[in-house]
């Protein structure tokens, strides 16, 4: 398979969009299953092509693993030239593999989930395929602007899919919130791209192509790089739901559950991580930006975990868990552990998609119920769902041996020991790990154990999900267990294949990072590379410590939600204000509403009613009124009586005669 066939990867889903989008309603009437055959087939083909290219890439020596396929010119004017082109390198292939792979599984899962839905089946799959197209474009693009197309495209699909059940206004509002929040992020992102373009242009490099930009990144002044990196990061906080722009993600759970699994857990929200990893050269040049990334990531992880502890909606818990796990990834990136961060992206895609899909099965089986207080005891009724979700839970909390363990450990170790790491951040991360274990097991206990708290009516209909839904669960469960073994750290006798595979991409950034490690920074410690690689025993001790914290979290959850189930309520009752603070998500939504949205809305009303109508239009109309007044003053002279006109006529004649006789 030739690399030039890379354009096939995005084009299959696009074809699916066109077919289902234009003819979908007719196909749906004739043969409903054809719709999902087209949609799933398109993504499946993309996956196959990706696989082919991936193995071809593996066949090349590590330093030759870069291919840029320029397809056709896009925008070309003056000095500004941007083409549509795809870049094949370890990073893009790594992303593309799990995007198409997990995407395909979720497409299959959607068949079962959406089959009986009243909404338009073809519309759903059109959006889903459009999302795949955008996401693939995002990860494969070889320049900033085309990536931005994917970046906004996934945001758009997210909007469309969140408000898929638009008849409920709350869903529509959530969709809009997601889009607008992302647009706020995109504002910074776009400014960053434009600054980069113009400032590199000042050195004669008018290009947005990744490899060109990174090759010439040295031309930029450090301050500028910091500004650009921070702008980019703000864009990423919107897309990847970090402080301060994470607010849209929990609301986005209004969409169908497969959508939450695909977009809001596995793929789209990791775009920010991908992007920062892609720009590792730039970030490595700016220690300050790296610190910001790490700190924001750690804080997001902690904040989201604290909120997740109190949520009762099963999907909201998972949503906050996603924010929290994304925080880990950013922490990893921020401390320079690019490969570890991306490894966590991969494992997270497996187990979080699985968790969402499992939650989807639960919701499906319970007839749409999402509140965990009305669940319970589902272990017996939905065994496949239970066991797969259990695996995913163990993976997400980083239970030794499961996928999440290896990836999370990579991040934690680098945070502890890396050149850019910090003990404070490490503490936060470990604390968050314990909280993760707590709220995830809280979810499991509330949903699957004890007696069923649902109404009789619902209980009768509880059933295991159909095959199309459970098979993807099982595949992902397998990946959640074994997926971690591609990145076993050297301390445990592994060879960390992920890091080795990604090394060509991050090599340049790593070099820069080491150069800058001695530079000024707020919280990072200047440690040399050799010192950073302390003995493996320290790493193993830390792993043990983390595992203990996790077990403590599980134990706490077991005590509170299995043994002494009255305790949570008393706890909440004894600390009402704190409980409320957590339950209402630290009131961040309300704060934004008060500080940004409401004032802006008032300003816009003021501009309309006050400035536009009264001042500006008032000036226009009063100009007209002025001339009207002048006219009115004169109009009395036009009495309509012929004789008065005759008099003025005569007077005029006399005046003229007098003028010519006496004055001239």
């Amino acid at each position: 398979m030739k690399f030039d066939l890379v354009w096939l990867i995005p084009i299959f889903p696009l074809a699916g969009v066109l077919i289902n989008g234009l003819l979908g309603r007719r196909i749906e009437q004739k043969n409903k299953s054809l719709v999902h055959w087209i949609a799933c087939g398109a993504v499946g083909l993309s996956f196959v092509v990706t696989l082919g290219l991936f193995f071809k890439l593996l066949g090349l020596p590590a330093d030759k693993r870069l291919y840029d396929f320029a397809w056709f010119p896009w925008i070309s004017s003056g000095v500004f030239h941007v083409g549509v082109g795809y870049q094949i390198d370890p990073l893009s292939m790594f992303m593309c593999m799990f995007v198409t792979g997990v995407g395909f599984l979720i497409h299959v899962y959607s068949i079962g989930y959406m089959w009986h839905d009243e909404g338009s089946y073809s519309r759903y799959f059109t959006y889903l395929n459009l999302f795949m197209f955008s996401m693939i474009t995002l990860v494969l693009a070889d320049n900033f602007l085309l990536m931005f197309l994917g970046w906004e495209g996934v945001g758009l699909c997210s909007y469309l899919l969140i408000s898929y059940w638009f008849s409920d206004l709350a869903n529509a509002v959530a969709g809009k919130k997601a889009f607008v929040t992302n647009r706020v992020g995109d504002f910074f992102f776009a400014v960053g791209i434009l600054l980069l373009l113009v400032h590199l242009g000042a050195h004669g490099i008018w290009s947005l192509n990744f490899s060109v930009v990174f090759a010439h990144a040295n031309l930029l002044s450090p301050h500028l790089v910091t500004i650009i990196c921070l702008l980019f990061f703000l864009g990423c906080t919107a897309k990847s739901a970090q402080i301060p722009l994470y607010i849209w993600l929990p609301d986005a759970m209004a969409g169908p559950t497969p959508v939450s699994a695909l977009i809001h857990a596995a793929t789209m929200v990791t775009a920010g991580v991908y992007f920062i990893a892609r720009c590792n050269v730039l970030y490595s040049m700016s220690p300050f930006a790296m610190e910001v990334v790490a700190t924001v990531g750690a804080l997001s992880a902690l904040l989201a975990a604290s909120i997740a502890v109190t949520q009762n909606d099963i999907k909201k818990v998972l949503a906050y868990s996603t924010v929290s796990q994304l925080g880990y990834m950013f922490l990893g990136l921020g401390v320079g552990a690019f490969a570890a961060g991306l490894f966590h992206v991969l494992t997270h895609a497996f187990f979080k998609a699985l968790l969402f899909m499992g939650a989807g099965c639960v919701i499906h089986g319970m007839g749409g119920e999402q509140d965990m207080r009305n669940m319970g005891g589902l272990r017996k009724r939905m065994p496949v769902t239970f066991y797969t979700m259990m695996i995913a839970t163990l993976a997400v909390i980083g239970f030794p041996g499961f996928a999440g363990f290896f990836s999370k450990d990579g991040i934690l170790w680098e945070t502890f020991s890396g050149a850019h790491g910090s003990y404070i951040l490490w503490l936060i991360a470990v604390l968050t790990a314990a909280m993760t274990a707590f709220y995830m097991f809280r979810l499991i206990f509330m949903t699957f154990f004890n007696e069923c708290r649902a109404s009789e009516e619902v209980q009768k209909h509880i059933h295991e999900a159909p095959k199309t839904m459970t098979v993807p669960l099982m595949v992902l469960a397998a990946l959640s267990i074994f997926g971690g073994y591609i990145g076993v750290p050297e301390s445990l006798g592994g060879s960390n294949l992920v890091e080795r595979f990604l090394r060509p991409v991050f090599g340049l950034g790593k070099d820069k990072l080491l150069q800058s490690a001695g530079g000024p920074g707020l919280i990072h410690r200047a440690v040399s590379e050799t010192a950073a690689h302390q003995s493996f025993s320290t790493e193993i001790q830390l792993m043990f410590l983390t595992a203990m914290m996790v077990l403590a979290g599980i134990f706490a959850a077991y005590m509170l939600y299995m043994k002494k189930r009255s305790v949570p309520e008393t706890l909440a009752a004894n600390n009402p204000s704190f409980y409320r603070l957590l339950l209402n998500k630290w009131y961040v939504d309300e704060l934004y509403e008060k500080v940004f949205i409401n004032p802006l809305r008032s300003i816009s009303f003021f501009l309309w009613k006050g400035i536009d109508v009264v001042v500006i239009d008032g000036m226009v109309n009063s100009t007209a009124a002025f001339f009207m007044k002048c006219g009115s003053a004169w109009k009395a002279s036009q009495s309509g009586y012929v004789q008065r006109y005759a008099v003025s006529f005569l007077v005029g004649v006399f005046v003229l005669i007098a003028y010519y006789m006496y004055v001239r």
Binding site: S77, F166, S167, V180, D186, A190, V198, W608
Partner: protein, 539 residues
């Protein structure tokens, strides 16, 4: 250069007029021949569009000069000529004009029930005048077309408009006419000035380009032109006629107003005030850039506050045209090409939005967003088209506006980065108000019984919308096809501008070598190739 011996521009200008005259002779008492009239109008306007496509085939995109030039004396004693020509800047605008008229005829098929004949005649006269204004190379000829446009538009609003149509029509007419008076004075002064300096007064634009106008005079003349064009664009504080006119005008009127008439203003800057008065234009950059930014943000915020869909779209025009102005006054290729491209995009997107708003107004006789809700369920096809128009308007990558806006922003960041940053915020606000509207109208439960029974778009309406929807994506993904045609003209434009600006700058600083004679010579030399080919042919 012009391989076409056929006077195609005159055909384009006068064919619609001919159609108007033809329609005059068809009896239409009591609306009995309305169907026939509409059909004739549709066929004629499509034919006109096809003729305009011939331009594309014969247009030579390697030359910056005027093509398809036609020259005939008109008023010899004042040396006013019938002088028309086309270059890369006006090419797409002419084609877009011809593109929109059939759509206007289609969308008025059932919307206009009274005086159909006169309505169609007005549209055709308007088309003549618009195309004429885009191709005129003689100032008086341009002025004539410019003013002629007002009359049919005035009638369209005043006769077929909504409740406050008279107020709006008069406001529109007086406001724009008041601006043009300044332009007329400036045109006459230019004539006088050319008479004084060269001994032969002229209204010929290409000759006037070569004049070397003293700086103070330039500032005054440029200000006069700017006022006229700024009102038409409309630039921020001069915009209040626009929402009124848009809201009251019938759908076809709004579409033409938004898609083409507003472009007259921006086109005027590009064709007249910027090349005629390069130094003064340069001096105006801070003012225009500030007003453009103010317009972008102000228009977006005010649009957000509107309860009326049509008014929302009207205010969004203020915002989008701010972008165009920002691009044009960046004075670099990216900015100007982006500006021109964005003119086309704004025409398509806003035209589409007005068409769609008109379609539900025709069904429901209200445009208030609160009266709607959940229409996506009742009218799925409508929902798709509105979504496409919304996406285009919001400048989602892959749609046409994104290309235009990003080019403008690149231009703006090169010329004045701070303004550029503010302009980007327009993209955020654009999403806010457009999605606000989309959500209020299309999403949520269907609240009103009347809305539950609304019919979806019929075949005619789909036929109206489909070309625009396709173009939104084509222009977003393959902008090269469009940009390529304007490349050399814009490059030449920038070149000329820079040369002249440097010349004035040298003159101002009192550099004795670079007096105007020398500068004049440079200018003449560089257009020698371009004028001798085209221009002598006209003579």
């Amino acid at each position: 250069m012009n391989h076409l011996s056929f006077p195609i521009l005159s055909t384009l200008i006068f064919f619609p007029l001919l159609c108007a005259i033809l329609l005059m002779f068809i009896r239409s008492e009591g609306g009995k021949n309305d169907e026939l009239l509409r059909k004739i109008a549709l066929v004629a306007s499509v034919v006109e569009f096809l003729i305009s496509l011939v331009l594309l085939k014969y247009f030579n995109d390697s030359t910056p000069g005027m093509q398809f030039v036609e020259f005939a004396p008109w008023v010899r004693s004042l040396s006013i000529n019938y002088f028309v020509g086309l270059d890369g800047i006006s090419l797409w605008l002419v084609i877009m004009t011809a593109f929109f008229v059939p759509l206007c005829v289609l969308c008025s098929w059932t919307y206009i029930k009274e005086k159909t004949k006169y309505f169609l005649i007005s549209i055709f006269i308007l088309e003549s005048a618009m195309i004429g204004a885009f191709v005129s190379l003689d100032l008086i000829l341009f002025y004539v077309f410019w003013e002629v446009m007002l009359i049919p538009m005035f009638l369209l609003i005043g006769v077929w408009g909504g409740e406050r149509r008279i107020y709006s029509a008069v406001k529109f007419f007086l406001y724009t006419a008041a601006g043009s008076i300044f332009m007329l004075v400036a045109i006459i002064y230019l004539y006088y000035f050319s008479y004084k300096t060269t001994g032969a007064g002229t209204f010929n634009l290409l000759d006037l380009y070569k004049l070397n106008i003293p700086i103070t005079t330039q500032l005054w003349l440029c200000a006069a032109f700017t006022v006229a064009f700024a009102i038409k664009v409309p630039i921020f504080p001069l915009h209040t006629w626009l929402p009124d006119a848009h809201v009251e005008a019938p759908t076809a009127g709004s579409v033409i107003l938004a898609a083409i008439l507003l472009k007259m203003g921006t086109y005027g800057f590009l064709r007249f005030s910027m090349p005629l008065f390069p130094y003064a234009s340069h001096e105006f950059i801070p003012v225009i850039a500030f007003l453009a930014i103010a317009g972008i943000i102000y228009g977006a915020l005010v649009a957000w506050a509107q309860p009326d869909m049509k008014k929302l779209v009207a205010y969004s025009s203020v915002s989008h045209l701010g972008f165009v102005m920002l691009g044009l006054f960046a004075f670099n290729i990216e900015g100007i090409e982006g500006g021109i491209y964005q003119m086309l995009n704004h025409g398509l997107n806003t035209g589409a939005l007005f068409l769609l708003v008109g379609m539900i107004y025709e069904r429901r006789h209200t445009r208030m967003m609160d009266d709607f809700g959940g229409l996506a369920k009742v009218m799925p096809v409508f929902a798709i088209f509105l979504m496409i128009a919304t996406l285009g308007s919001v400048a989602v990558p892959g749609t046409n506006s994104f290309v235009g806006e990003i080019m403008i922003l690149v231009g703006a960041f090169r010329a004045y980065p701070v303004c550029g940053v503010f302009a980007v915020s327009g993209m955020v606000l654009g999403a806010v108000y457009m999605l606000w509207m989309y959500q209020k109208v299309m999403f949520g439960p269907v609240t009103s019984e009347v809305n539950r029974k609304l019919p979806d778009l019929n075949k005619r309406e789909i036929a109206t919308m489909l070309p625009i929807a396709v173009l939104v994506f084509v222009m977003g993904i393959f902008p090269g096809m469009f940009l390529h045609k304007m490349d050399s003209s814009v490059k030449y434009f920038i070149n000329q501008y820079q040369q002249k600006y440097e010349m004035y700058e040298a003159e101002k600083s009192g550099n004795p070598v670079a007096t105007h004679l020398k500068g004049f010579k440079i200018a003449v030399d560089s257009d020698a190739a371009f004028h001798n080919g085209v221009y002598s042919r006209g003579r």
